[in-house]
Structures are given as structure tokens and as C-alpha cells.
Symmetry: C2
Subunit: 141 residues, 2 copies
């Protein structure tokens, strides 16, 4: 018997796509407190290997969170247990990034899923690779 | 000889503290696209194990990013290579959370640091545990 939780089985896939604006990056800096000038100051960024401002790595991770939080099991409570992230390439203002989350493990008795989580840009380049663990909880009436 | 990068050696520590408001949480939802109602809707959250709205897990991770991006090596470029996160306890609006990043490994020839990264709340409870990898780059004039 194939294990499933909330209709999800191994190989189930959800995605979330977002265009990243410089305003988004500035707002992310304000809300997290990460005002590293690499993310907002073009003159500073020109002196780095990136040559131009880049989004915070954790901004791309936020799009994984959006895929898991809004697309994976919208009729259940998705409890985020863990996330491993490798930042592979920069995200620039104007990029459109897509988080793709693929179920790799289902533990029905614990209501837990493991997922491969990848963020790609509009050119198909992997900007983040990694994996996540979530628990799927019922909404209590 | 003790290895160091930008004055940092094993056991060097940086911290970043932030109070989390419901407005911050709502803004984080807008900027990432993660509009899961668990983070903003008290009536919905009451039907979950958390009983009240909680911050996105990735919001707490953003405070780690702030510690690394603004406190670790402000006269250098901190390139985020990787971050592993385990979400251990919820962050609520009104909480004050502190990211503590402790250098655990220094690879001077590769300009790389490994760090233990922990986020605690005002009661000392660990809300996130994990580890990070960064590269320290020079600012080019």
C-alpha cells in the first residue's frame, strides 16, 4: 500500500513562483534587520564578486516557505520542522524564481513528509538546493 | 598557529536581537508570498496546535542572516554558502528573538567559516538550532 498524507505521496510536487523586485529586497532587509549593503547599495555591490546588488539568500528560502505554506496542503496545517539550504547562485532584482518541492518520504504514522526543495531562476539555474521536513496537522473545528 | 579570517577564530560569537511584531509577520508574508493564515489569522490559528498566530519559521532564519550579514565581518563581504535549520518552537508576535552565531570551524586557505547558529526567545528557549557555512571575501577598491 502506498503511504499518503493529505493526498500527498512520494513524487508529489508543488511549486511557487515569485518575481523579485529591489523593493522586495529592501523590505526584506527592513523586516529581518539584515541591512548588509550587498543587498541594496549598487556602489558597494560593485566592489564585490557579485558586481550588483543581490537578494538575501534567505529571501529565496522564503519562496520555499511559500510553496510549503500555501501549496502543499492548504486544507491542513503544515508545521515546518526543518530546512537545509545550499545557496548556489545569486538572485538579482528582476529575477523570477520558482521553488519546486518534491515529496521524497512519507511517514504516515508520524504525519511527516520529507521533501527535496530546489529554487531555480528564469534561466533554469539552481539558486538554492536542499531538503525540508514538515508535519501535516489537522485543522480542529 | 590559530587560524583566523577577518579576526574571527573558533569560538568567536556574534549576535543579533529583534523584537517581532505582527506587522513584521504580515510584511514578511507579503514579501515572500507565504500567506499561510497560520501567520496572520487569529481565528484560523486558534484551530491549530499553536492556538495563536506564529511567525514564519523563515522569519527567525532571517535574524540569523542579519547576524551573519551585519555583525560577523562588516568590513568584508560575507557570502552565504549554506544554512541548516531545525525549527524547535514557535515565535509569537511580541517575542524578542536573538540569533547567536558561534564560529566552529575556520578554513583560512578557502576563506570559509563554519558556525553554529541558534535562535532563542526572551525566555531563553531555543526556537531554531542549526549551522551555517559562509565565505569571507575582500571588498575590492
Amino acid at each position: 500500500m502506498t503511504e499518503s498524507i493529505a493526498g500527498l505521496t512520494v513524487d508529489s510536487v508543488v511549486t511557487f513562483t515569485k518575481e523579485v523586485t529591489q523593493q522586495d529586497i529592501n523590505t526584506f532587509a527592513d523586516v529581518t534587520g539584515d541591512h548588509n549593503p550587498l543587498h541594496s547599495n549598487a556602489e558597494y555591490a560593485a566592489k564585490t564578486r557579485f558586481k550588483q546588488p543581490i537578494a538575501h539568500g534567505m529571501f529565496g528560502a522564503g519562496v520555499i516557505s511559500a510553496a510549503l505554506g500555501t501549496r502543499l496542503a492548504p486544507d491542513s496545517v503544515v508545521v515546518y520542522l526543518g530546512q537545509n539550504l545550499k545557496f548556489r547562485a545569486p538572485v538579482l532584482a528582476g529575477d523570477t524564481i520558482t521553488a519546486t518541492c518534491t515529496v521524497t518520504a512519507v511517514e504516515a504514522e508520524k504525519s511527516r513528509l520529507g521533501l527535496q526543495t530546489t529554487v531555480t531562476n528564469q534561466d533554469g539555474a539552481e539558486v538554492i538546493i536542499g531538503d525540508a521536513q514538515v508535519m501535516i496537522d489537522e485543522i480542529r473545528s
